[in-house]
Symmetry: C2
Subunit: 356 residues, 2 copies
Amino acid sequence: MLRNFCRGFATAKKEKIAMIGSGNFGTALVRLLGRNAKRHEVFDDEVRMYVYEEQVDGKNLTEIINTKHVNVKYLPEGPLPPNVVAVPDLAKAAEGATMIVFCTPHQFLKPMIKTVKPVLGPNYKALSAVKGIDFDDNGIVLISDLIRKELGCDTSILMGANVANEMATDSFCETTIGYSDATNGELFKLAFHDPAFNVGLVNDTVGVELCGALKNIVAIGAGFCDGLKYGGNTKAAIIRIGLKEMKKFCNTFYKGIQDDTFLESCGVADLITTCYGGRNRKCAEAYAASGGKKTFDDIEREILKGQKLQGTLTAKEVNHVLKMKGMEAQFPFFTQVYKISYENAPVDSITTTPYY
Amino acid sequence: MLRNFCRGFATAKKEKIAMIGSGNFGTALVRLLGRNAKRHEVFDDEVRMYVYEEQVDGKNLTEIINTKHVNVKYLPEGPLPPNVVAVPDLAKAAEGATMIVFCTPHQFLKPMIKTVKPVLGPNYKALSAVKGIDFDDNGIVLISDLIRKELGCDTSILMGANVANEMATDSFCETTIGYSDATNGELFKLAFHDPAFNVGLVNDTVGVELCGALKNIVAIGAGFCDGLKYGGNTKAAIIRIGLKEMKKFCNTFYKGIQDDTFLESCGVADLITTCYGGRNRKCAEAYAASGGKKTFDDIEREILKGQKLQGTLTAKEVNHVLKMKGMEAQFPFFTQVYKISYENAPVDSITTTPYY
């Protein structure tokens, strides 16, 4: 399949890749994009990366990246291929791109898309590697839907057990691309796949995206178990119950969810990583271990230096949806994580709640 | 459903439960059986447990259990209900039993069944909580098939993320009962289910039993990652690849496997526990960390005091099956665990093998 692409596209106009974002994860991803742009004829060699300009030791970050070929600020351990070009001007970075990858905090997306849209190349398609989901008064807003709406193009999703610092040293890992257009799915796979970064494909953008958000609720529950010094049996049970509820949530509120999605990297693997490492687990552990002496606000200040925790926020927004639909009782695990985090329910109710 | 049982059976002859086995796990299970025998009218109050007689401080173990109500030798932290009666004579322990539970090393099963069969009560059914699977020249022998054949009765399976020492203190956990006869499945659920021991039911004895055995191969792979100091991304990828191959193996060689089985406690939860704790993981970690200086025989001597490791043994027997069928290439993960364990393949080939 991949070989056919290379042949079929070899004489056609080449696909031009742009990466919008240059944080930790974006930089880890663009290393692979650069490598594959050189490796496969279907892609134009140059991969532009939009970099929000900053000064590092009195120099522009983009200049450092373009001379030293490393993002010294956000991924110093991962050298970049020289065909990755850092561009401080968003419109110039995206100019002529036919495959545009977003990897920025989601609150910046809308204005960025406005700038990017007029300059893109023919038949452009997008991929979102943006973490999390958004919410409005009506409930959940998927980032892929936002991109589809604002950019008006087919949008794939990339999620998986992908800690950027491990990717930077080419440690073996996997990821999942959820697609709705199979050709675009294969093209994005070709752009990211590497011996050290095994890409799985599923025809399910919604499931992939929701896994990436809902896993953080489960990690809060797993962290509670750690903080209460519960053993491996109990933690594994809580993770499993969380996984089942993730699947149930997806199938209750969306159509076309694939069972297989939950056995892909974006499902069970990312969930495991998040429940054994990760900041959501860590903060929930600290909350439980404090025995009521600290609030999540205290912990965000201490551990996250004031950043907001994804897992509790997602639990709150998901609870808002469940309340609106009168379905709290059908999602007892998500509901209990919410009640412990926001309504002072005792932490040990995470296991004394009768789940099923 | 459970309530109906209690009503329906209340005036009928009661079910009589016997536990064959009194090790760590058997004792943890019989605590629950004793509790539920008292709790539900469908069961005769007394639960007999066959105990291989040993001397502890100059006294018979059965006498200690029947006076102190604790198995001081194998589960000192878990008090037993007084209606659990330790019996040193196998035939007497099983006499009149209509629900017989096996929890012994599988090599003892055949001769035990011969003793037990003539004394059982009417319409007896069995449940196996025996760990692992057996092998003969033709390949895999499921313990449930062995019991079905030798005892001639319907046989359910119990497997899950159930470390006995955690169960002994009533830490919350889950388990899975695989059944083929739904009524017997519900009866065994009623016998084991407890607020601290949540029983899930699946109509799939084979899937449940194979999960319990194949997970140990995956734990060897996960242990290799730990020994090589690989990060969370990599280990999660290996666990996921292993889970997919477990599922593929079940579906390739057996009929009637349920997808849901792999999301039950016997599947993903037990796999997680085994890959983060457990002796298979630990020994594989030591093997990888030794950098070729130690063999698995050395490690079994040092860490397991000469006991054999389940995971490598299962990898070997599974490889025997795959070789016979010419299917090694279709199970690259199982094959690679075998090659590293038995054919001196480099340990880091656990991630450099192209899996899919």
